[in-house]
Symmetry: C2
Subunit: 222 residues, 2 copies
Amino acid sequence: MTRKEIPVPTLERLSTYLRALASLDIQGVEMVCSSNIEAETGISAAQFRKDLSYFGEFGKPGIGYYVSDLQKRIEKILKLDREQSVVLVGAGNLGSALAAFPGWKQHRFSIVAVFDNNVSKIGRKLWDLEIQDVRELVHANRDYQAKIGIIAVPATEAQNVANLLIVGGVKVILNFAPATLRAPQGIVIRNVCFIQELAVLSYLLSEEESKIENVALPSGNK
Amino acid sequence: MTRKEIPVPTLERLSTYLRALASLDIQGVEMVCSSNIEAETGISAAQFRKDLSYFGEFGKPGIGYYVSDLQKRIEKILKLDREQSVVLVGAGNLGSALAAFPGWKQHRFSIVAVFDNNVSKIGRKLWDLEIQDVRELVHANRDYQAKIGIIAVPATEAQNVANLLIVGGVKVILNFAPATLRAPQGIVIRNVCFIQELAVLSYLLSEEESKIENVALPSGNK
DNA sequence: TAGATTGTTAATCGATTAACAATC
DNA sequence: TAGATTGTTAATCGATTAACAATC
């Protein structure tokens, strides 16, 4: 069956295409060509066609793509065409902001449970969900059967939480804690760390500033 | 001067090394070798040495690296060795969670102002900062001189906010809104979109699950 | 039909990995 | 000195870009 591995950058872009298509769809656009997608997303037309080519044929030469058809097919590829259960660990500021995100339903994700280790929070509500004791996580997920977990706890707790999620049957984890997590083969972890993003921006800012200096002071030693 | 461009993945990893070094430093570790870093971060020893090599020499053959020295030097590379002003736009759940992040000072960033367009929020406090009218942003940043901006508003507002930030003198933007932003040359934008991350995980989850099926049903047609 | 645009192949580019001489 | 580990060069790998035959 030699499954050709799909590059992760391609998967990330698929999600971007989906967003652009949704926006075009709302505007009433029915057909697009790859250069429209480039205009909308900044991703090159060639890259767009190449990305799609991993999954089959989607358009008509000379014509382009049907917006709603393409949307549905990409959703299917990413398995966003059916509701998926997500468990959230961490009911602090970040967890609260995540739980409040209005787009969960639209993107076909459903937060089925929230856990925390803070006794003063357990039993209270985070929006419409009761905050449960993190020690109940493994047991509770026997019912939920969630395969997707989100870690929104301090870095010091993140590995413990990851272990619990994995024991509880979670297969993929989105980790917001600034920590490198260990996990067995077959478990996928993606890290979101805005401080790291800012560090990159900090470097790029200094680079831009030095470029400007070089323009301002053209002569000098090269 | 032919500045050799540093790969962005290298910059991202530098930040990861920094985190590992901080953790080792706290544990009282004074020396590390590249394979220690691999054990700590999952990034290969060769990759670590290659990444550092863009910026000079950091270690001693046969010995390794001084933890605190390496920390300081990477911080300097990323310009994390001096305080940097950041303006935040969006005082909703996400903006609030960002403002509450306890690590700002430690990472040498300082949120100097928060803006929103919601009349019922303007004038109120978000933690210790007064929420200002986003229409004051350009003017207000003449004082702050922040070069770093964070967008934590709904997607529909994101481009407008980006434009304001840029007019206000911001050079690099961390965008949390699920939108592709346009910006002139010389402005750097990085997008953080957890829904996109979940979409990737959703695909990888289905991939993992099909692998397991294939193991469970070994014979079949290949 | 002529013009437009796809899907795919080949060429290019860039990043990661491996190997090793230099050196502590 | 012998063993360990660096910094760097060369080899490999993978992703992006360009080009174009197929086709609507």
